[in-house]
Amino acid sequence: MLRYTVRRLGQLVLVVLVLSLLIFAWLHSLPGGPVSALLGERATPESTRALTIQLGLDQPIFVQYWKFLLRALSGDFGVSLGVQPGASVVDVFLTRFPATIELSVCAIILAIVFGIPLGYLAARRRGGWFDNLSIGASLIGVAVPVFFLAFLLKYIFAVKLGILPSLGRQDAIDATRVTGFFVLDGLLTQEWDASLNALKHLILPSIALATIPFAVIFRITRAAVLDVQDEDYVRTAESKGLTTRVIRARHVLRNAMLPVVTTIGLQTGALLAGAVLTEGVFNFPGVGDALATGFRQHDYPMLEMLVLVAAIVYVLVNLLVDLSYALIDPRVRAK
């Protein structure tokens, strides 16, 4: 198990290296570029050349990549050009990353907490009204665009009913920062109001972000339970006269969880895509928002770091999935 983990982490290094090259090459082949973005309408041929040399963009691309790589290894991703001009990319990232983590964790918890039990219930009541209703609901969940749902939620609960905040991570209140995770900070410093306030700000964005993962997890759970409950070993368990509780938990759910765990991993990895839209609608200052802004303003250094981190997170989540898979399924452990 340990050797497996170490080997997988080794693979991670390789993946990140290749990815960094791809991202770098791809960003630098885009038209426009940071120089024209920075100078805007005031660009003259002289100032353009001067800035190109100043940013090192006149050098061959592999030289640029090598320099980028060396700096990145020492934790220096350069200076933001557009998201927060002049600030260190790493600093910008570090203030925004906790916001997205908070949002994603809330969203995936919502998706799991509702998706798995409802999927299980729908499978038990297959063909009944509950099953049909929730299949319909999950279809809508997948089909409705995230940004539309985000606007809808914002309009109903923030604008019309006014019961939940519509923008940002926290109201302008006195709050001590410790970790950058606002909900956690409030708990650590016992500033309960601050914690509660941050949590309220999370409700609508996480619901919007959770819909697609919820719908997918719900459907996979339902299908997996339907599959598993017809298996021979469930009949064996029945023939042993075991209680329904044991049969459901040990024989049906444990096996049905295998595909669900994989799905949770994939969905968690894909959350960033949804976060770009959700954070935009709710003015939530996370990395999704930074990514969108970065693209609009050709903030290469920012984008390089964000895409790289997104890739690392994705690979780490998948590693976590594989490890938990091995925990559930002894057949995987053996290999």
Binding site: R235, S239, K240, L242, H251, R254, D329, P330, R331
Partner: protein, 324 residues
């Protein structure tokens, strides 16, 4: 008194918009304590459905079970789901056909054995583990202590079936139903498993219902044999009588289609023509008539009734004559 009395057991599967399908059609038989009886027939003759009906393991929806299944003094068919749950695994055990798919792949062998002991004998996990070690040892699994912590994929096919037998017999049920327990195994392993079953039921006085399509299995194991066709018992006799003088043309055909070492070289096997019909045309005919070499006109006009002869039950208008 019989341990198990099955009377007029009928199972119909009903699907919306379709004719009900009668899988088991008025089957009756007894099992005495410690007796081994065989239910024999081709796929689709209703033998597995009969056993699932006795165990109360048929799907809850879409079927209708009528008749009577008395186990000692209890009518099993009138028990509630949870009462039946208390019986299964304790009074009645069952072993299935495919040992790999019948074991939960993600639960250790040990837990799959101890969960029965915990459920019906109220044992704590630790005590149950000790008992499970003995059980695995009894069914001939070497190094049982180590096997307890292993998972089904780490065991061979024969070992898996042994483990399943250990689970079925863990609470010393008075009746064990084995549904084709050797079909999925290698031939050499088949013989071992049959010998094991025989030894275990003899030692513990457990009655055994052996469900099989393999007359070889019956020959080595069963005291009495019921031959099923189209959901009905067509012939019943003690083992010796059945093999020596098969009277029903179907039984006769089954025996004739077994290759024999003492047959002259070059002699061809005689298969039974055709296959089991989709629905059972016992109404106003014998269901076997279309495939029967002895068929008369009456066979397609009158349903044969079950007759009691000197040493057997028979349901046939024109049985095979006894060759002296």
């Amino acid at each position: 008194m019989a341990l198990l009395e099955v009377r007029d057991l009928t199972v119909q599967f009903r699907r919306r918009g379709e004719e009900p399908f009668t899988a088991v059609d008025g089957v009756s038989f007894d099992v005495d304590p410690g007796q081994t009886i065989g239910l024999v027939g081709e796929s689709g003759c209703g033998k597995s459905v009969t056993s699932l009906a006795i165990m109360g393991l048929l799907p809850r929806k879409g079927n209708q079970v009528t008749g009577s299944v008395r186990f000692e003094d209890t009518e099993l068919l009138s028990l509630s789901q949870s009462q039946m749950r208390d019986r299964r695994g304790r009074d009645l055990g069952m072993v299935f056909q495919d040992p790999l798919s019948s074991l939960n792949p993600v639960v250790s062998i040990g837990l799959q054995v101890t969960e029965v002991l915990e459920r019906h004998r109220g044992m704590a996990r630790k005590a149950a583990m000790v008992e499970a070690t003995e059980l695995l040892d009894k069914v001939g699994i070497p190094d049982p202590g180590r096997r307890l912590s292993e998972y089904p994929h780490q065991l061979s096919g024969g070992m898996r079936q042994r483990a399943l037998i250990a689970m079925a017999l863990a609470c010393r049920p008075r009746l064990l139903i084995a549904d084709e327990p050797t079909t999925a195994l290698d031939v050499t392993i088949q013989a071992q498993i049959l010998a094991l079953l025989k030894e275990l039921v003899t030692d513990t006085g457990t009655a055994l219902i052996m469900i099989t399509h393999d007359l070889g299995v019956v020959a080595g194991l069963c005291d009495e044999v019921n031959v099923l066709y189209g959901g009905r018992v067509v012939e019943r006799a003690a083992r010796h009588e059945l093999f020596a003088e098969p009277r029903h043309p179907y039984t006769h055909g089954l025996l004739a289609s077994i290759p024999r070492l003492d047959a002259p070289r070059g002699e061809k096997l005689v298969p039974i023509k055709g296959s089991v019909a989709d629905n059972i045309p016992w109404d106003g005919a014998c269901a076997f008539a279309p495939r029967c070499p002895n068929a008369l006109d009456t066979c397609t006009q009158v349903t044969p009734e079950q007759e009691s002869l000197a040493n057997r039950l028979l349901r046939c208008h024109n049985p095979v004559e006894v060759t002296a």
